[in-house]
């Protein structure tokens, strides 16, 4: 167990910058999830932490010790790979024991640790099998076991669930979380799946183009996204983002689509300042004077998601409880609550929630 500190991590691959100075502090026993679209640099950040890549500049500290120049084996970490990377010619037992064997751990101690981890993961009956004879979920467990027996300071997960089918993924997700809590090992988990991120992490790092766009708890990220990227990345269906200009005094804004909205607290800035209004589909009030031309209705049972366009062509998604009030044509809506205001140029959030 240890803390992890990444400071000013830069990485350039052959002249192409991939990471532009990422800072991250993880406290003891915390599970932090790095989430982002593919190519945002999240895996690179993980590999730098593991020591499989070296940063162009910046410092990695594990438990307060600078490990930037150390080999992976000397960092006291364990990494669970996306494709598990189990050695195909070794049994599950040998796979889990290999790292300990190299470190010269006594045979009896290896056996004890592997069997303990196997019991914990419910794979004690499979220890004599080769990876080929295991299902995806079982391989996943063996890969986890290999990480656990090392008793490392830090667990690293590189999208370990993305090769599993949907049902197994949900199950393993819960199991990883339970295990991590129980063992209390500081963990860094990389994924592109926002549901995985929201459910697993004590805190999330939302990465966008080599930068950490926001580092906060899942709920903070959901309720007060730092910019329009985070706002649209987290939450499903995605948040509606509408162009607008600020009204005099910042108490409201005029939508590009027509009509005006009021904020509970005024937004700073001169009249006419271009802004982006964000509102989640479930926060749109399905009555009012803003006409949405409905194009597609998705009934999901307990709720209905309606996709349409505003006058002016901007897309608008509305989520209502129960069945759809209309199935086609025009549905009038209004935007009253849970408004997010972003600067139209920098895409950054202008203040806390703009209405109660």
């Amino acid at each position: 167990m240890a803390t992890l500190e990444l400071s000013r991590i830069h990485k350039t691959f052959g002249g192409t910058p991939v990471l532009h100075g990422v800072d991250l502090d993880i406290s003891e026993g915390e599970m932090v999830v790095i989430v982002g679209a593919s190519g945002c640099g999240k895996s690179t950040l993980l590999r730098i932490t593991a020591g499989l890549e070296s940063p162009t500049s910046g410092i990695v500290r594990i438990g307060g010790r600078d490990v930037t120049a150390l080999e992976p084996a000397d960092r006291d970490i364990a990494l669970v790979f996306q494709n598990y990377a189990l050695y195909p010619h070794m049994t599950a037992f040998e796979n889990m024991a290999y790292g300990l064997k190299i470190r010269g751990v006594p045979r009896a101690e290896i056996r004890r640790r592997v069997e303990e981890a196997a019991r914990l993961l419910d794979i004690d009956a499979l220890l004599a099998r080769r990876p080929r004879q295991l299902s995806g979920g079982q391989r996943q467990r063996v890969a986890m076991g290999r990480a656990i027996v090392r008793e490392p300071k830090l667990f690293l997960f590189d999208e370990p669930l993305s090769n599993l089918d949907a049902k197994l993924r949900v199950q393993m997700r819960a199991e990883i979380r339970r295990l991590q809590r129980r063992l209390g090992v500081t963990s860094l988990f990389v994924t592109h799946d926002q549901v995985e991120a929201m459910t697993l992490g004590d805190r999330l790092v939302v990465m966008n183009q080599g930068r950490a766009a926001q580092i906060a708890t899942p709920m903070e990220i959901f309720t007060t996204p730092a910019d329009t990227y985070v706002a649209s990345f987290i939450g499903s269906p995605t948040m509606n983002l509408l162009r607008a200009t600020l009204e005099d005094g910042g108490a409201g804004a005029t939508l590009a689509a027509g009509g005006s909205i009021r904020f509970a607290q005024p937004v700073p800035g001169p009249a006419g300042r271009p802004v982006i209004i964000g509102i989640r589909p479930e926060h749109v009030t399905p009555e009012g004077d803003l006409p949405v031309a409905i194009e597609l209705v998705e009934p999901l049972g307990s709720e209905t998601v309606m996709h349409g366009t505003l006058p002016g062509g901007e897309a608008m998604t509305v989520r209502v409880q129960g069945t759809a009030p209309v199935t086609s044509g025009i549905m009038p809506v209004s935007l009253k609550q849970h408004l997010h205001v972003f600067d139209a140029e920098t895409n950054l959030r202008l203040h806390g929630l703009a209405s109660a």
């Binding site: 080999e71 084996a73 190299i102």
Partner: protein, 304 residues
């Protein structure tokens, strides 16, 4: 039951069914006919050799080509094994036993050496990045295109300067590096996922440990397949042993066999020659048969 039912219904004179049955039968005969022809073409010379090795020297000397065994098998093989074809040999006689032993040692050393060197150089080229990595690979690769005969004179000179003529080392060393095997191992290593190397790094395995514990076991079937091919390559070496060896105690069977056939007027001991040829066939056949399972696996299967 069900089969009988189908048969009955087929017999109920469906002309299309009968036609297709006939065609299938014809196809089967055709296939077997062609295969049989192939077998005859490949096997007949060996058969003639085998049969010829059981007759006395005069039968073949008269120009007969017997197609069935004669009664002199034992004496012919004993003579070939212990004395060699001494009657007409243009040099001194060498017993087949010694020549077989020389060939066996040479072929084994060549195959083993080629595999070890190729494994290590392919490992270096694939798993490490160092300056000039691709240049080295291409230098190895390009030698593939040069036939051995092209460099045989300079190689001979080098061996003479090193005083390695008439030694086993001189026989083996010049052919012990293999561009083909290096290329094959490289292609195989490229299919090993990077994650294995990374997992090994995190497990704390150094490069040699990773090679020994992971790469080598994964290459087992490829090594076996290559061993078969390279052993036969080594066994069939002719030109180089002919040049480098003048000491008959180191003569290999393939060279010795050709020397047994006299060019003068003297009668060749065909019975002994054919017995020696059959003996020369046995070790490569044994290697193929013993390693067949691995061999086929290595060419078709990957354990990933």
């Amino acid at each position: 039951m069900a089969g009988a039912l189908v048969k009955e219904r087929g017999a109920a004179a469906d002309p299309a069914l009968r036609a297709s049955r006939a065609r299938q039968r014809r196809d089967r005969w055709m296939t077997h006919g062609i295969l049989l022809l192939g077998v005859i073409i490949f096997a007949l010379p060996i058969w003639i050799t085998l049969v010829g090795s059981t007759h006395d020297v005069n039968t073949i000397g008269r120009g007969e080509v017997p197609l069935w065994f004669g009664g002199h098998a034992v004496e012919n093989y004993v003579a070939a094994w212990s004395r060699g074809g001494e009657a007409v040999r243009n040099t001194r006689a060498v017993p087949a036993g010694i020549m077989l032993w020389n060939s066996l040692v040479m072929a084994t050393l060549i195959a083993t050496g080629k595999i070890i060197i190729s494994l290590l150089s392919a490992y270096a080229v694939v798993f490490f990045s160092f300056p000039g990595r691709m240049a080295f690979f291409w230098m190895i690769f390009i030698t593939l295109m040069l036939p051995v005969e092209v460099r045989i004179i300079p190689t001979f000179q080098v061996m003479v300067d090193l005083h390695l003529t008439d030694t086993m080392a001189g026989l083996v060393i010049p052919v012990v590096a293999s561009a083909t095997a290096t290329l094959l191992f490289r292609q195989f290593f490229l299919t090993i996922p990077d994650e294995y190397a990374e997992a090994a790094k995190i497990d704390g395995a150094g490069p040699l440990r990773f090679f020994w514990d992971v790469v080598l076991p994964l290459s087992r079937t490829n090594i076996a397949a290559l061993f078969v091919i390279l052993f036969i390559y080594g066994w069939n070496q002719y030109l180089w042993p002919l040049l480098i060896i003048t000491d008959t105690g180191l003569e290999t069977i393939v060279v010795g066999l050709s020397k047994m056939i006299g060019r003068g007027d003297a009668q060749n001991e065909w019975n002994a020659i054919m017995a020696t040829a059959i003996l020369a066939l046995l070790p490569p056949v044994a290697v193929v048969v013993l390693m067949q399972r691995w061999f086929v696996k290595g060419l078709t299967e990957t354990e990933k």
